[in-house]
Symmetry: C2
Subunit: 364 residues, 2 copies
């Protein structure tokens, strides 16, 4: 693995859309006991079900800590590869490399990672194991690696259409916990030179009470060039309404890099999901303090799906809108079968299906 | 990775000779401070030089502990892959899988590993990280894995000619620290059913003072079907003389699996190598006791070479026989270039070049 100090775009590399073909997918076996209930045993079932579905059409590599390897291996299908790798938590979207290609070769970007806000408002400390993973994953996949550790970015805070347009949120990328020394313009330049985009669409905020500082991947996602789904509620008393309406207004008044108007499909949210007292009791404290409070609203959203080569895998919450969300996504991805996963145990960790996956684009 | 409970031979798999084509090679970055001088910093130079030479003609994967990954990555060529993997020490020959093929597919054997003798006369405790490596390496290389953990065997205790013959020593395989519950005949059956051999040639003992209980790979190795090199001294006062003479007599009176008489090439030993007081001071104690005593004779031997696709890589000891050993091996491997490595810092760890490498046979 070469460590590269150039920028991907000057080398002819860019980030494909998630709905382009994948050669594989990376996940991290959950283990953190203050993130995941019951020593992470609750979430393992959902992870294993998700991995099993992805592995129908993609080569899946699961990173497990030394102490988790045997159980991960036992619980996952034989066709899934399990590799030993240390991690602080299990959010592959945010700590695995962002892969770029020139159509023939694969390379990875090693962004800086500071646990969603570092010492300003990050979610745990330390995060050194997570921050080393992108480089190690490039090494594992024998992909040369762009050293962009001086720029803090998580994969969950960006979505691209593969045709020059990027979606993100101001709440996250302009927050004080990421790159406060950079201006909005400098951040745009960095995204353009690294990901091969020429147009950045800035939404204001992400899902209400999302502890990632409003990652785009929980509120809005491309389903095709020029088309997005947006997490939506019609309940004007819900604080989410104002956020989603603001996004809708921006999107409907935006053009993408090719000059197309963005077509917005509203994806209904489930009724607000609140963590129970019993669920909170399954979580270890962190530094003596609880990580969740009984009754706390979780950032549940159907937008946090993963697009595998043959499936769209959607979080289900036991809500009446589960079916509706699946129908909408089914109609937007006609070539793929929609699969729902009971995702409450992933949601309690603070994210969902998209957050725990990272696709590897296919190359020739 | 499937875990297989059949035997390789019944599935049509056998172990190729080391001089057959390789697709790659596995090593483990040294770290153990009671095995390797100066916190293993001394040995790293020799490891890096060896890895660099092997990587000229093979894809090399180096396993490094989490805490060693960054430095291993920094010190190794970009074309070498470094992966995180926990280990107790750095003897890939003995802890990596023994790979078998049917010409088309690669599979690995996960033998039991007990640190060269377990609680009877093993060299360290615990050895659980080492014992987990073979399976993890099969997983990494997406090779199905034979579960033979109930049989204790190290790769360094066997050599095959790829045509049905296996070389080993009684000192090691019949010792009390490996499989004392099995008879010689049962052990032969195990070797035959796992490695695809039909003839086992049993030498008595390995190199004098070899702490592996006389691994074959330090005293005798195939250079071609029907041909071996044997570590040799003409000094009748050296306790090694009697050992080597005994081996010679056995080999010269043996036929291989195809009925060929074994042709023996004597490979001179260096003058006896003794560890110095200064070198001993560079080693941590183990459980309060020194692992080496000043003046202790080390098991130096030129037989502990590695056959890569394009090189024969031979340990050098700063001895007048370095050149002679290289010449003999050069004549026996006409298609390969001989490369010598200053190997004293590997030797101090208790083995040599062959002990720290494990080849991956090429398949279609």
């Amino acid at each position: 693995m070469e460590i590269l100090h150039s920028k991907p775009v000057e080398d002819g590399f860019s980030m494909p859309a998630e709905f382009s073909p994948h050669s594989g997918c990376i996940l991290i076996w959950p283990h953190r006991r203050d993130s995941w209930q019951n020593g992470a045993y609750a979430a393992r079932t959902a992870f294993a079900e998700l991995i099993s579905i992805i592995s129908r059409s993609e080569k899946v590599t699961v990173c497990a800590r030394f102490e988790d390897y045997d159980e991960a291996r036992r619980l996952l299908p034989a066709g899934v590869r399990v590799v030993e790798m240390s991690s602080d938590d299990s959010w592959a979207r945010d700590v695995a490399p962002t892969f770029v290609t020139n159509g023939k070769k694969l390379r990875g970007i090693d962004w800086g990672f500071n646990a969603w806000g570092g010492l300003y408002d990050g979610l745990y400390f330390p995060w050194d194991k997570d921050n080393k993973m992108a480089r190690k994953l490039c090494d594992l996949f024998m992909a040369d690696c762009y050293d962009l550790r001086d720029f803090i970015l998580e994969g969950g805070s960006i979505h691209t259409d593969g045709e020059g347009t990027l979606l993100t949120t101001e709440e996250c990328l302009l927050g004080k916990g990421r790159n406060p020394q950079l201006s909005r313009q400098q951040i745009e330049q960095k995204l353009c030179s690294c990901l091969g985009v020429s147009k950045v669409i800035w939404l204001k905020r992400g899902i209400y009470n999302d502890e990632t500082n409003g990652h785009i991947d929980n509120i809005c996602a491309f389903t095709a060039p020029g088309e997005v789904v947006l997490a939506w509620t019609d309940d004007k008393d819900d604080p989410q309404y104002e956020i989603s309406k603001e996004c809708l207004d921006i999107l409907e008044s935006s053009c993408d890099a090719r000059g197309r108007r963005i077509r917005v499909h509203k994806l209904p949210l489930p009724r607000p999901v609140h963590i129970t007292e019993e669920e909170c009791q399954g979580l270890d404290n962190m530094d003596g303090e609880p990580t969740r409070t009984p009754g706390e609203r979780l950032a549940a959203s159907y937008v946090n799906f993963y697009i595998s080569n043959e499936n769209v895998i959607v979080p289900f919450f036991g809500d009446e809108n589960d079916k509706k969300a699946a129908e909408i996504l089914g109609s937007l991805f006609p070539g793929r079968e929609v699969a729902g996963i009971s995702a409450r145990d992933i949601l309690i960790g603070g994210g969902n299906i998209h957050c725990i996956t990272q696709q590897i684009p296919a190359v020739e």
